[in-house]
């Protein structure tokens, strides 16, 4: 599962590997991305270890999605060093399935060689969507489409899975199910995950480490050592959530009576 091959998105590869128990799958050093001269990401530093689940929080427009797009290799107007594994996959907020391809063909799209349908069926089975493999994407519900998009990412057996607010457009119940699914898949696959979200609860629920992005850099880092599966009702959970919300500029409710809920 560990990544051997690092591919620089741009710039020269850095010196030697850092001495660490886990190999690094993402190394970002001095990354700058400017839009019209205004830096959105400003000399950013980031390391992600193999198998680590990292959540990236931040206000809208803080550059977290831009960072994800850079790591996905979709944005190359950058300065600095970015090392990412060759095998990486993205799931976007919108499922972005090709409407003219049946679900299983969408899953196999872009895979090298001529993969068999069984490969897609296995991935769909894993996300619990094998009964819809023959369907057209436009006939899927929001949750189903998002699961198909996850299957399409997982079938690539990525060392790094990039999730760009994948649950943002789902209704509350479907979201809870989808979060559990991602948790399960991550534990089974052991790939590193970078989850971009603006839902603090989701970040604390899933991640080993929560990063808060502000002013183009990682402004705050919070390790989450709660045992899994995590319980939202746990007071430690609530404390972590309140702390992160404060970091994001959302104060705890003023009236103490409201806390009772």
């Amino acid at each position: 599962m560990a990544t051997d091959v690092h591919r620089p998105v741009t710039g020269a590869p850095h010196g030697g590997e850092t001495v660490s128990q886990h190999p690094t799958v993402v190394r970002v050093d001095g990354l700058t991305r400017a839009f019209d001269g205004r830096p959105v990401i400003d000399r950013l530093q980031l390391d992600v270890q193999a198998g680590e689940f990292v959540a990236l929080l931040g206000r809208s427009g803080c550059g977290k999605s831009t960072l994800l797009r850079i790591l996905a290799g979709l944005d190359r107007d950058i300065e600095g060093t970015v090392l990412v594994p060759r095998r990486k996959a993205v799931a976007f907020q919108a499922p972005r399935l090709m409407p003219w391809k049946r679900v299983w063909r969408n899953v196999l799209l872009g895979l090298p060689g001529r993969p068999e349908r069984a490969v897609a069926e296995r991935a769909l089975e894993e996300v619990g969507l094998s009964h819809r493999s023959q369907a057209w994407p436009k006939t899927l519900s929001g949750g189903e489409a998002q699961r198909a998009s996850l299957a399409r990412a997982l079938v690539r057996e990525p060392d790094l899975l990039l999730l760009d607010e994948p649950f943002g457009a789902l209704d509350a119940l479907t979201r809870v199910k989808a979060q559990r699914l991602v948790d399960e898949l991550w534990q089974r696959r052991g790939c590193a995950v970078l989850l971009v979200t603006h839902d603090v609860e989701e970040a604390v629920l899933l991640a080993d480490r929560v990063l808060v992005m502000d002013d183009g850099v990682i402004a705050h880092e919070q390790r989450i050592d709660l045992p899994r599966p995590r319980d939202i009702a746990d007071p430690r959970f609530a404390a972590l959530r309140t702390g992160l919300l404060e970091r994001l500029g959302v104060e705890a409710p003023a009236a103490p009576a409201a806390e009772a809920a």
Binding site: G73, V90, R96, M98, W100, L111, P137
Partner: protein, 297 residues
């Protein structure tokens, strides 16, 4: 929250105007209830095909009636009965089928060439920026020239054989196809292209799996327009210097004041147009089955 603290006595209905009544506690007069009728029982169940054929049949009956009573003279417009008989005669002596064959061939060749030219140019200008700069401006300029007006020029260039007729159809077909395929390519969702990139598709893979299928609905619209224009171009082209084809039959009939033959030819044109539309509809159903469409209520 408010439920548990609700006042014990019923709240007076403030919407009622009469003050004497409104102070009175207790439920007011119950509102009048209206039954919602299921939509299926509201309409008489006449089959759809029957409803759709009634109108044209009535029109045909009226026409026959006017001809029979002499209100419509036969040298103005022949009666449907006469037209049917003449059509039978024309088919029997083979002149109509021969003419149809000739006309169909012209349309087919013109359509084929026009599709190649229109789609080819659209691909060049849709997929490559340099192609757009070179091709699009020229095509947009030429598009404004009414293609029928080029017939005299085409006769000088290509003579009076098949070539100018096919050329006129080709020209007419090319533009709508170009415009719609080009718009279709440029209208492909950039998010899907980005998703394709993130999945590791090559440039050619993107064209094949994302851009071309995405442009297909536009191409189909273009094809429909093109077919309509192809028949129009055929009619224009065949009225000039033709020695075979449906248009030739019509010109001949005009010289002998045979309105019946003219109407037969018009019906044949309409029938061929309908056939072409059916072909495109079938193509759409097969190629665009991924697209859920609104089918009307």
């Amino acid at each position: 929250m408010s439920i548990s603290h609700a006042p014990p006595q019923p709240v007076p209905d403030i919407s009622r105007k009469g003050h004497a009544e409104s102070l009175e506690p207790g439920p007011g007069p119950s509102p009048e209830l209206v039954a919602l009728v299921p939509s299926s029982s509201r309409r008489a169940r006449v089959p759809r095909w029957l409803r759709r054929t009634t109108g044209p049949l009535l029109l045909l009956g009226l026409w026959q009636l006017l001809s029979a009573t002499g209100a419509l003279a036969s040298d103005v417009l022949a009666s449907p009965g006469t037209i049917a008989r003449v059509a039978g005669d024309l088919i029997e002596d083979g002149s109509l089928t021969t003419a149809m064959g000739v006309s169909l061939q012209r349309v087919a060749i013109g359509l084929l060439l026009g599709t190649l030219v229109g789609t080819g140019l659209a691909l060049v200008s849709g997929l490559f920026r340099i192609g757009e700069d070179l091709v699009d401006a020229s095509v947009q300029m030429l598009r404004t020239v009414p293609f029928v007006g080029l017939i005299p020029l085409f006769i000088i260039w290509f003579g009076i054989g098949e070539a100018p007729k096919v050329a006129i159809i080709t020209l007419g077909v090319s533009f709508p196809l170009y415009l719609n395929v080009y718009a279709g390519i440029r209208g492909v969702d950039s998010q899907l292209i980005e998703a394709g990139e993130s999945l590791g598709l090559s440039r050619w893979g993107l064209v094949r799996h994302v851009i071309l299928p995405g442009a297909l609905p536009g191409a189909m619209t273009g094809l429909r327009y093109s077919l309509g224009i192809a028949w129009l171009a055929l009619v224009f082209a065949e009225q000039i210097n033709a020695d075979a084809g449906i248009g030739f039959l019509m010109v001949q009939a005009r010289d002998f004041l045979r309105t019946d033959v003219i109407v037969v030819c018009l019906v044949v044109y309409a029938f061929l147009g309908l056939l072409a539309d059916f072909v495109v509809r079938t193509l759409e159903r097969l190629l665009l089955q991924w697209r859920p469409t609104f089918t009307g209520r």
